[in-house]
């Protein structure tokens, strides 16, 4: 087994009496898509926030490429290569799609304390930005402000920004949310290609997408991982069927 890119050990996070994350341990290995599923309010977004650094866990350790990152800020983790996408589209609304990608590119290249050279004439930013936008299919929309893009286009721009960071792993929180069937189909194909570049921790409600994509699935219920395994194992797991998938055979 390859050593894990990302490893969570014994994570706990409570909001008052609510245990949103309850002793969660999981790993993300090179080349895989690890899907995290669970009903609404199970704590998926809370868990992703702890990985990306927006929330501090009460207990437990987050290791990224062998390094303990539990105490690092969001920006520090991003610079180490933890690429993140948001559950709710989160872009720079007044910037064009191109400028959004350029921002991610400039951040990857290092600190922002460069005061003189205009970014508009910075070929180290403009050319790769064009290539990345073409790759996700947003090339023709490069000059449109992010705030004016259609919903599906905004999701693609999120992916483009994650790509621009060349992360060592992707964290995607419901990338399919609100996309039409055609968009979902395109995104599935794209993510399948993307995982060769870096492994993906994927939170997703669309079960067809999860079962089509995931190498491994972990099921989160009330902050706990109740099962973890391959798609076939999860589909066959009686506890998961009861708690989450809704057991059609027994109800029938």
């Amino acid at each position: 087994m390859d050593s894990a890119v990302l490893e969570l050990a014994g994570l706990r996070k409570s909001f008052g009496a609510l245990k949103a994350t309850d002793d969660v341990s999981l790993t993300l290995r090179p080349g895989e898509i690890h899907a995290l599923i669970g009903p609404n309010g199970a704590g998926k977004t809370t868990l992703m926030a702890q990985i990306s650094g927006g929330l501090r866990p009460d207990a437990g350790v987050i290791r990224f490429r062998g390094q303990d990152v539990t105490g690092l800020s969001v920006a520090q983790r991003a610079r180490l290569g933890l690429g993140r996408s948001f559950q709710i589209s989160s872009l720079i609304p007044e910037y064009s799609a191109r400028r959004n990608v350029m921002l991610a590119l400039q951040a990857r290249e290092g600190h922002p304390y460069r005061f003189l050279w205009p970014v508009r004439r910075d070929r180290g930013l403009t050319e790769p930005a064009r290539a990345i936008l073409d790759r996700v299919g947003l090339g023709p929309r490069a000059s449109v402000p992010a705030g004016e893009l259609a919903h599906g286009e905004r999701r693609l721009l999120e992916i483009a920004m994650a790509l621009a960071l060349e992360p060592a792993c992707f964290l995607l929180d419901e990338p399919m949310a609100g996309m039409g069937t055609e968009g979902v189909g395109r995104l599935i194909a794209f993510l399948r290609e993307l995982k060769a570049q870096a492994p993906i921790l994927l939170v997703e409600h669309d079960m067809d997408a999860v079962f089509a994509l995931a190498d491994r699935v972990s099921v989160l219920v009330y902050g706990r991982i109740i099962a973890s395994g391959t798609v076939a194992e999860i589909r066959a797991n009686p506890e998961v069927r009861r708690a989450y998938l809704g057991d059609e055979e027994t109800t029938a």
Binding site: S52, V74, A78, R108, Y113
Partner: protein, 326 residues
């Protein structure tokens, strides 16, 4: 694209007008108008400083009068000691050289902005506004109760300070100096805004979480911008003290902070030449209506209300359209 070109042309017209009006006044023998134009240039300079924090970074500082006043007192105190031949402190002499005064004014305002920023930039919204106001009020009451430098009566500058090669006693030459410094500040603003630093700063204003997610730490970028902003406003304060030959606690009053915000709102938040237009409108109102009614600020308030309600980009936004980021 067309809108960007329109803003370039508009900026050129604004800057040319600020130069042409006092030039006309010089030929017509109207030194008062030249002094008014100098006042516009220096208020604009102070507001360009604030525009970096407020316009680019979204930091609504309601305490920039603090830096304006620090600059003013730097000029007043150094000139005072140069005039009396006494040391400022620890044997350090005063000076009547503007270049030295400006360096001191910018250094001190920068240091204070660093402290204020470090303590306030973790907050946002109304809390940030109130904290910056509180720090400025501390400065205001400190100068008010500082008898060594005039207390509430303020501190006169008997002989205008000097600049190499310029006769600062002549209104036209003092205007040229102020105009040149304003142009340099506008150049700095434009360069910062176009560079990676500006890209990061404006991104943080719009979506700090997103900026952090791509690896840009918002705090350091905002603090750097806040310090640069305070330094420019401090420089403007030092020059304004030389124009009026007077420094007083009023330079640090909350109304001064408010005026700087008003200037930016009128001209257009984050727009390069917004501060110039805003300062011209403010000085215009002050001069036209200040003479026959004490309530000129009420009328200005109404104009401001109109600007906020009907022209959200200020005058520049009205004439040049929305800002483009390419």
């Amino acid at each position: 694209m067309a809108e960007m070109r329109r803003e370039y042309i508009l900026n050129a017209v604004i800057v040319a007008a600020l130069f042409a009006v006092p030039l006309w006044a010089l030929m017509a023998g109207e030194p008062f108008i030249i002094t008014l134009a100098t006042r516009v240039a220096l208020l604009a300079l102070a507001a360009v400083g604030l525009n970096i924090a407020l316009g680019l970074g979204g930091m609504v500082s309601f305490g920039h009068a603090l830096y304006f006043g620090i600059g003013g007192y730097a000029a007043g105190i150094l000139a005072h000691h140069a005039f009396s031949g006494t040391p400022v402190a620890f044997g350090i002499p005063g000076t009547n050289q503007m270049l030295v005064i400006w360096a001191v004014a910018m250094g001190l305002s920068g240091l204070v902005a660093l402290a204020v920023g470090a303590l306030s930039l973790r907050t946002s919204g109304i809390f940030f506004i109130m904290i910056t106001l509180a720090f400025a009020q501390m400065g205001f009451f400190f100068t008010l109760s500082w008898p060594a430098y005039g207390g509430e009566d303020g501190l006169p500058i008997f002989v205008r300070n000097q600049f190499p090669g310029v006769n600062t006693m002549l209104p036209w030459e003092l205007f040229l100096l102020s105009f040149a410094v304003l142009l340099a500040a506008l150049g700095l603003f434009a360069v910062l805004r176009a560079a990676r630093f500006g890209a990061a700063l404006m991104a943080i204003r719009q979506n700090p979480d997103r900026a952090a997610a791509v690896g840009i730490s918002p705090f350091g970028v905002k603090l750097t911008a806040f310090v640069i902003s305070g330094m420019l406003t401090g420089l403007a304060g030092a020059m304004m003290a030389d124009l009026t030959r007077f420094t007083s606690p009023a330079m640090m009053a909350w109304t001064m902070s408010g005026e700087l915000i008003v200037i930016i709102l009128l001209g257009g938040v984050g727009r390069l030449c917004g501060p110039v237009v805003g300062a011209a409108i403010l000085v215009g109102f002050e001069t036209l209506f200040g003479g026959w009614t004490e309530h000129w600020q009420l009328w200005l308030g109404l104009v401001l209300l109109g600007a906020v309600l009907f022209a959200r980009g200020g005058v520049i936004g009205l004439l040049a359209g929305r800002e483009g980021h390419g």
